[in-house]
């Protein structure tokens, strides 16, 4: 049910097809229109810079697709209801909760997860800043925090502490590392300029 084209990123290949029974992947159809005989939908998208084609039940969310089909488990399921932000990724550069995003809607989209944020071996400034400022404890919400923060900075909505606090309020950290997260965003904001 799943297929990658030209995946080079380590960690992806090993997981392909483990979560779902193997099946033939129709590569010809680029449309996300329903396929009446199987009910499955084929989606071609770019994930962390790599062209990817997935055929799946239309109920599959982007979150379950990246975790269970692509083996990208950095994106976390904290609530599956859009109430915690742990699953935040970028779709076409915009921050979304992947738990409420249906894979089927993403034909042609470009998706970036935490695994795709670094520049090769060089961590993203936010990834460094979260460590420098201790913006994490258990680390479970951290990928979502960092993906949100990257978008918030890019949107120009990280101008003041209060603005950061408000804009980052969709990402719950129960360890409550919020002061460190705030400091990390301040630090990275300067570096990302």
């Amino acid at each position: 049910m799943t297929q990658h084209e030209g995946i080079t990123r380590r960690g992806l290949l090993g997981m392909v097809g483990t979560a779902a029974a193997a099946a033939t992947v129709p590569l010809g159809g680029g449309s996300a229109a329903a396929q009446p005989d199987t009910g499955e939908v084929t989606v071609r998208m770019t994930v962390n810079g790599t062209a990817t084609s997935l055929t799946a039940d239309p109920r599959v969310t982007l979150l379950d697709a990246v975790r269970e089909r692509l083996g990208l488990t950095g994106t976390k399921k904290g609530c599956d209801r859009g109430q915690c932000g742990a699953c935040t990724v970028h779709v076409d550069g915009r921050r979304v909760v992947s738990c409420l995003t249906l894979l089927a809607t993403l034909d042609g989209a470009s998706v970036t997860t935490i695994e795709g944020l670094a520049d090769g071996d060089r961590p993203h400034p936010l990834q460094r800043a979260f460590v420098d400022q201790d913006g994490l404890q258990c680390g479970f919400c951290t990928p979502g925090q960092i993906m949100s923060a990257a978008a918030v900075i890019a949107e120009g909505r990280a101008r003041t502490d209060d603005e950061i606090r408000e804009q980052m309020s969709g990402n719950i950290c129960r360890c409550s590392a919020y002061p460190g997260i705030l400091a990390a965003i301040r630090q990275a904001r300067t570096e990302m300029r």
């Binding site: 449309s31 239309p58 109920r59 599956d80 209801r81 921050r95 909760v97 249906l102 978008a151």
Partner: protein
């Protein structure tokens, strides 16, 4: 989640033609996907309308037209919206979370379902979800429930902040159905629960919200939205107020007032507007006018604080508006 067929109509006409009983339009997905997972909504066909040309903001000829598929965050950030209708921008900014605002469409926001915990829990009865099954909220945990418009069948509040602001601005929605297009005042679009709380909108089967139309209201440049909640962010309103006031010197000559978190639908308060007009813009005036807001409120066991909170939210909103003078 129940299984469904996924379809992507190519045009609005196609979308409307395909729609019918058992289908659901999918825009941002923040309501539909959530409720499908909870099996509160169980469509057998999901129609992905995201690629339909229902985008754009248009201010030509005064007023504001918002494509139903515009995303909340984009509308909130638009300088034309912020300048001409601050109340809209603020209501959007105070909604949900950054991610959800990025995803959710304007049309979907207006059609979002109540946050009543019983509605969202299929292991409990709910007249809105399962007509005739009963309403545990009326005798149960109802701190967040409605004090305006509730019936013996349902006391669920409407959760949208945007809708409160739009109702204050006399906005309309454009609807496209198989028989053609029509325009409905947003105030009339939302139905009172009565004994049919499962019927929430004046929306015919298959009809699609295509556009929101906000009439020109130059003095809405002085408008504001105040939202009161337990948590500082990422929470639905316990109480909210959308207010706009036109002054002549110190005298109020026109006013628009609506409240959220209080009613089973966004609640326009024309009595408060009348009580404001012709009076001086002072706290005493606001307090006296806000007092008329609580007429007809019917508190339940745990939400008896709401009428008082509504009055105070109104006074606060009017005072905060004064500071923008």
């Amino acid at each position: 989640m129940r299984s469904y067929a996924f379809e992507r109509p190519g045009t609005v006409t196609d979308a409307v033609r395909r729609a019918g009983s058992g289908s659901a339009f999918l825009a941002g997905g923040t309501t539909l996907v959530d409720l499908m997972k909870l099996e509160v909504m169980t469509p057998d066909r999901v129609l992905d309308i995201n690629r339909l040309p229902l985008r754009g903001l248009d201010t030509t000829g005064g007023g504001l037209r918002i494509g139903a598929l515009e995303r909340m965050s984009d509308v909130a950030a638009d300088p034309r919206v912020r300048r001409a209708y601050p109340v809209l921008g603020q209501a959007l900014d105070l909604s949900a979370s950054g991610q959800l605002r990025t995803m959710a469409s304007i049309g979907g926001n207006l059609l979002q379902r109540t946050r009543c915990g019983y509605f969202r829990d299929v292991s409990t009865p709910c007249n809105k979800r399962l007509p005739g099954s009963g309403c545990p909220a009326i005798g149960g945990e109802n701190r967040t429930h409605a004090v305006l418009g509730a019936s013996g069948s349902c006391a669920a509040t409407h959760p949208s902040d945007l809708a409160v602001a739009l109702v204050a601005l006399d906005a309309k929605v454009r609807l496209q159905g198989r028989e053609g297009a029509r325009t409905v005042d947003l105030r009339d679009f939302y139905l009172l629960p009565g004994d049919t709380p499962h019927l929430e909108h004046d929306l015919r089967p298959g009809e699609l919200v295509t556009e929101v139309v906000v009439p020109a209201l130059p003095w809405a440049r002085r408008s504001t939205y105040v939202k009161i909640r337990d948590r500082r962010s990422f929470e639905f309103a316990l109480s909210s107020a959308a207010v706009a006031v036109r002054l002549d010197g110190d005298t109020i000559v026109e006013a628009r007032v609506a409240v959220g978190g209080m009613g089973t639908r966004p609640w326009r308060l024309t009595a408060v507007e009348r009580a404001l007009v012709g009076r001086r813009a002072t706290e005493e005036t606001y307090v006296a006018a806000a007092a008329t807001a609580v007429e007809g409120t019917r508190p339940l066991r745990h939400n008896a604080y709401k009428p008082e909170l509504m009055k105070r939210t109104l006074v606060r909103a009017l005072l905060e508006l004064e500071q923008t003078r």
